[in-house]
Symmetry: C2
Subunit: 760 residues, 2 copies
């Protein structure tokens, strides 16, 4: 039985959650009412399966209604009067249900349910049974460093669930069911087998790759055979009541069991996936788990055998979050984000080497680099090697070398021109560029051609343009954060020349070849052709979208220079020579520039050049402070560059900026519900980025100590919980891009794992 | 250019056709207007892809409308006045199109199109281009007997299509497109490559398994690069007109080419599939083609290189059918049936051995044995080894041994009881049974547990009951037909004991252990438990559905006994002893019984016992004559059992029966449109079975020589063409179960290949 300390969720409980193992790009999704969900493999959205999880009075043949959680299309809700909830938990019957049709299927209403949503358990309490899903997580061990048995534990591509019927006070048998209509052909029953310690196993699958296996927890060797059995007809009620519970052509397989009066039984089901062949194109990869598990049966069996560890590990995680000192709203956002993060993770094996991928939610772009840099804090905490893996793979396959476009010299100077570069025009001339990195590695399991992303296009000025400057910063920040955390000197030394190339590329993009004048980005990449670079904030307005002159990106460039300086410091003066100092100077140039931009109204305009951004107020101005903050945190014996005078000036300016925005009497950076608005001029706000912002504002500036701002944050957290759980957003599990609080893009998204930065 | 002799189809051209290679369980389906289709792999229905096959005036950037075949959802039809058709073929413009929106997508109307539907070409002629799909077929060589290079030819899992734009009389460039919106994530472009003889190849794929590759036919080495290029945006028009024709996140990939004024260009596209891993469960199998092709690229390339053979082979097949002497309606039915047959074929490799599967249309049941027996004529003509393969696999994996239920002796005699047998009751006692065969081997790539089908259930009296007697007959008839055709003495000798077991099983089911009294089926299998056996005609009424006393099945039993006698004769007297004679006696008993049942009205009642079938008139009474007919045909030097006196009496009775039904003044076996009604009392009639019936009625009884009956047949053929091509049936390619002429079940079905029996 799960530990009872996770309180019932007080808001709308009818929201989807992803329940996912680590690295399997798989999710058992349920929770939203009246829509299908279920076992989704390699898709950026809930699957299309109707789930029937319920119980009926009487034995299997009973004509009583089967009462299920409402996780299927067009449920007919129970009309029984609500049962009385006891303080905090549990129900007392409020009367009996209205007479229903023989063999009916009824769904519980929300007021008949409680949902306890912990970090790793998601537990539904009905008046008649409890259903809980367990998704423990932790470190994924480096398969090149650890024994395969450890990878078997970390990469098991399954989750566990339990269905408990307590009939100890009952006077007649009850029958429980866990069934799924896959809504596509190919369902089959697994052979009925006896597993570990002789327990009877029944289960079902969809073709070769998706499956469910169940056993009764309380069965003991030598006991009389408990009544667990497989079903497969077109509905669970038909299967239970017909003389033939299973038919080879049945569409809705399931597992059922009878609980005699006076007994209490828990059905444990493992829900898993197994793909054994090559699953990607371009770079051909398989799932790394397929090296450690032989087939779907092996996966489902291993999960059932791991019940104690699954269960106890999940409770431990629940308690860790409960004891974090964070508010219930903050805890919810972390728990919800963690699930959707793991649902997007995909650990492949390419040519015998591990290859880490995080898919970009509904878009399924692979390892989108501007997500990776935000997710690295979580990954560095649990498994720093995946960040190294990502850095290496970007370097090997998805780095490129460009030229830059110096605008408006009036002359069509013909320099050396690279393939794909635009012809020099009267608007610009081509100058040497440098190394940068692609936006992503492909999409939907199709690796893009090396050196190219699936996202970026030339000739664009908004959406789909290149993010050359930003992705260069992102790779540097990832490298710096990885080395700061791991102190992996060997890796740093091997990449010394890359760090040098990155510095050169940064400087050239800043429009200067002389160190003293280098600073934030000035030149667009030649890859843009007639277009212009953008930032990760592609769908926000002019306050955050364009790259040149962008305040947010300028601070990121500052952080990237500091990161390079740190990397050169780690290498030591013999290798780095004076370059660490060059990088620091560039950072200081940017710091000085930004610090001087605080206007009369106490904030820094969104754009550093021109007047276009003068009135635009952006919270992400401080986002990139998260990286030096992180380095200071993990390198406690080292002096932090944040303590240098130019940094202190920058920090003071940014703190004032942030105070101005948060305490704004006109609330220009807040929605009417209290949710935070990244840009005062856009209704599109991103949850993961808000979390990063809050982390810096609280962790570096201690802004919550100002009571007004503390209230702003509390109201914001509450609003952000509602954004995820109410209305159409509730179908999409964790989503990122909220337009006026409704998930419109970036749904089913991994990046909100940045919320976990709030934990100490 | 295809041979022009296939005339335009005179009826409704807007029907789907399956275009399939042999043994790949793959179909490129198109032809129905306004619905998706495209590349379907391992599904019993059209895929869900929008196809854009068309042309526009001007170069790629032109704003002229792109005019396409209407093979996508919600087409907007062209409003231009119809162009004049020249006699037989070709169009003369009837005026220009009404002004349309810049960059619009328009679909041709049916009156702007001609469709030439041959045996292996399906050619669409528009005023602006021609599009043709080539699906040559022939023998699949036995991979254990032939060099792998032959299997590469036979098993190539792709079809070819051509798109020809004749701009020789034009004054400006035209642009052609072949594009597909897969309507699911995972589209990608194939690398642009130079293939055989230096021709430029472009193409696209859906993930790893489905793909299209194209080249221009007229390109010659050394010529200036022709303008063929890949596109991938959200629509083909967007792709052509945008500065970036391709985007990694585009949803609608395609191939486009420009044809200069004065030129004529043909784009050839290969459309293929490749699954490289295990695709089935239970028995784990891969596609046999995967042994001969290395990947999707290899498949697509091999198809393009085979253009001449594809094209010429298809024309040869077209001509063979055109020269068959059959009517246009008959030719259509054969061409349509051949396509849907191959779309359901699936040649696997299980444990290194070939494993032949024909999927049952929309149901995807594997090797449904009551289909196999009807399809064997086609298979024995082209590749007898697949019939042997099927016989062996049924024997190894899907045969069983039962008991039979002797009804109504009043006593609950307790005999030896097998697992799964019902307890003896006052209604029946259990008697020894014998060998029989399952209804199928599983469904949707899931092999059923050995010894069990996916279809059959106990305790049923209709749908889903066991077909023990019928499937026993079917295996015998397959074995007899295989040996008759191949004269494979070795196989026959190896299975002598099985033939013996089959005879024993036949006799025991007839309710007799004494040879002299054995005849048609009397006892149901114990597997039925409380149920009763049925026949393949599961969804027809009492005239054909139940097995006991069934006239159709009695004739099949008669044929099966004759088949066993022939098999024993082939083995020779030393092996067979007197069993050939026993089998013949049983056949004669049945013949005599049936011959005596012709009633006053000149027909034999549908049921031989009781009065229930007295007024029911069934055409399939003569169906099973097809087998002895076939043996006589392929064993020309042997005496046919059809010439024995008892057979002659049976034939005379059945001929009279058939004449009565066909010449019935009340037309009780005809629909109002002239289509044939298998049972006078059911509106459900099956096209494949009608074809078998017509084959016997014409081939054995020469009934078409009676002018009235000749007319009946001609009207029937015309009606049956309309059944397939009009109304909702037109979406489902070839369908079998027509209720009042509309495809209601057994859609997208292989069995109508029985129509090919009409060819000499």
């Amino acid at each position: 039985m799960p530990d009872p300390t996770v309180p019932p969720f007080p808001g709308n409980i009818a929201f989807n959650a992803q329940h996912s193992p680590m690295g399997a790009f798989f999710s058992f999704t349920c929770g939203h009412f009246g829509t299908p969900g279920g076992l989704g493999s390699q898709i950026g959205r809930p699957a299309n399966q109707d789930l029937y999880i319920g119980v009926k009075e009487g034995d299997r043949k009973s004509g009583a209604p089967l009462k299920c959680l409402p996780f299927y299309e067009n449920p007919i809700y129970d009309t029984a009067p609500p049962k009385t909830k006891q303080a905090g938990r549990g129900f007392v019957s409020g009367g009996s249900a209205a007479p229903t049709q023989e063999g009916a299927l009824l769904a519980y209403r929300a007021d008949q349910l409680e949902r306890h949503y912990g970090w790793a358990t998601d537990r539904w309490v009905t008046p008649d049974f409890e259903f809980a899903i367990y998704t423990p997580f932790g470190s994924i061990v480096d398969p090149e460093q650890y024994h395969p048995s450890m990878s078997r534990v970390c990469l098991l591509p399954a989750v566990l669930a339990s269905l408990t019927i307590d009939n100890t006070g009952g006077s007649s048998t009850k029958t429980g069911v866990f069934a799924i209509n896959f809504n596509e052909p190919g369902a089959r029953l697994l052979p009925e087998q006896h597993g570990w310690r002789g327990k009877k196993r029944v289960g079902f699958a969809l073709r070769r790759h998706l499956g469910v296996q169940g056993m009764l927890e309380s069965e003991r060797p030598g006991e009389e055979q408990p009544q667990v059995f497989a079903i497969m007809r077109n509905t669970p009620q038909e299967a239970l009541r017909d003389v033939n519970p299973a038919h080879g052509l049945g569409q809705c397989p399931g597992i059922a069991f009878e609980v005699a009066a006076g007994k209490r039984q828990t059905l444990i089901v493992s829900i898993g996936v197994y793909h054994d062949g090559i699953v990607t194109t371009g770079l051909e990869g398989r799932y790394l788990y397929a090296r450690y598990f032989s087939d779907l049966n092996d996966v489902l069996d291993a999960a059932l055998r791991g019940w104690d560890a699954f269960h106890n590990g999940s409770i431990d995680l629940d308690n860790e979050l409960l004891n974090s000192g964070l508010s219930a709203d903050q805890q919810f956002l972390i728990a919800h984000a963690t699930r959707s993060y793991y649902g997007s993770t995909q650990l492949l094996e390419v040519a015998g080497q591990p290859f880490w991928v995080v898919n970009e939610g509904e878009y399924c772009m692979m390892n989108t680099l501007d997500l990776s840099v935000d997710q690295c804090f979580w990954e560095l905490k649990h498994n720093p090697w995946v960040v190294r893996n990502l850095l290496d793979n970007y370097l090997r396959y998805y780095s490129y070398y460009d030229q830059v476009k110096r605008p408006g010299q009036g002359a069509k100077k013909k320099g050396f021109s690279m393939p794909g570069s635009p012809a020099p025009s009267s608007d610009f001339e081509l100058m040497p560029g440098g190394i940068s990195f692609c936006h992503d590695m492909g999409a939907h399991n199709n690796f893009a051609p090396t050196g190219h992303s699936s996202y970026e296009l030339p000739h664009h000025k908004g959406w789909f343009s290149y993010m050359t400057q930003e992705q260069l910063c992102n790779w540097i920040l990832l490298a710096a954060s990885y080395v700061a955390k791991s102190n992996d000197q060997q890796w740093a030394r091997r990449n010394e020349f890359i760090f040098q190339a990155c510095l050169t590329s940064m400087v050239r993009r800043s429009g200067s070849s002389a160190d003293n004048s280098s600073g934030a980005m000035k030149f667009d990449s030649s890859r843009c052709q007639s277009g212009e670079e953008i930032t990760t904030y592609d769908s926000l307005d002019a306050s955050l979208g364009p790259a040149r002159g962008n305040l947010y990106l300028a601070v990121k460039c500052w952080a990237a220079y500091l990161g390079l300086a740190m990397l050169f410091d780690v290498l030591g003066p013999a290798e780095a020579g004076g370059v660490a100092e060059s990088a620091r100077k560039a950072a200081n140039n940017i710091a000085a520039c930004i610090a001087g931009k605080v206007g009369e109204q106490g904030f820094i305009p969104a754009t550093l050049i021109g007047e276009a951004g003068a009135a635009r107020r952006i919270l992400p101005a401080i986002e990139a402070l998260a990286y030096p903050m992180y380095w200071r945190n993990v390198r406690q014996n080292e002096r932090s560059p944040l303590e240098d005078t130019p940094s202190l000036q920058l920090l003071a300016a940014l703190k004032r900026h942030t105070q101005t925005l948060l305490a704004d009497a006109e609330s220009r950076n807040r929605f009417s519900d209290g949710g935070l608005k990244l840009s005062s001029t856009s209704d599109n706000s991103w949850v993961s980025k808000i979390a990063l912002f809050q982390h810096v504002a609280r962790g570096l500036f201690n802004m919550q100590e100002d009571a007004r701002i503390g209230d702003v944050f509390r109201q914001a957290d509450a609003a952000h919980v509602k954004w995820q759980t109410q209305g159409e957003s509730a179908y999409w599990a964790m989503s990122d891009q909220m337009v006026n609080g409704v998930a419109k893009e970036s749904k089913y998204y991994p990046r909100a794992i940045t919320t976990a930065l709030w934990m100490k």
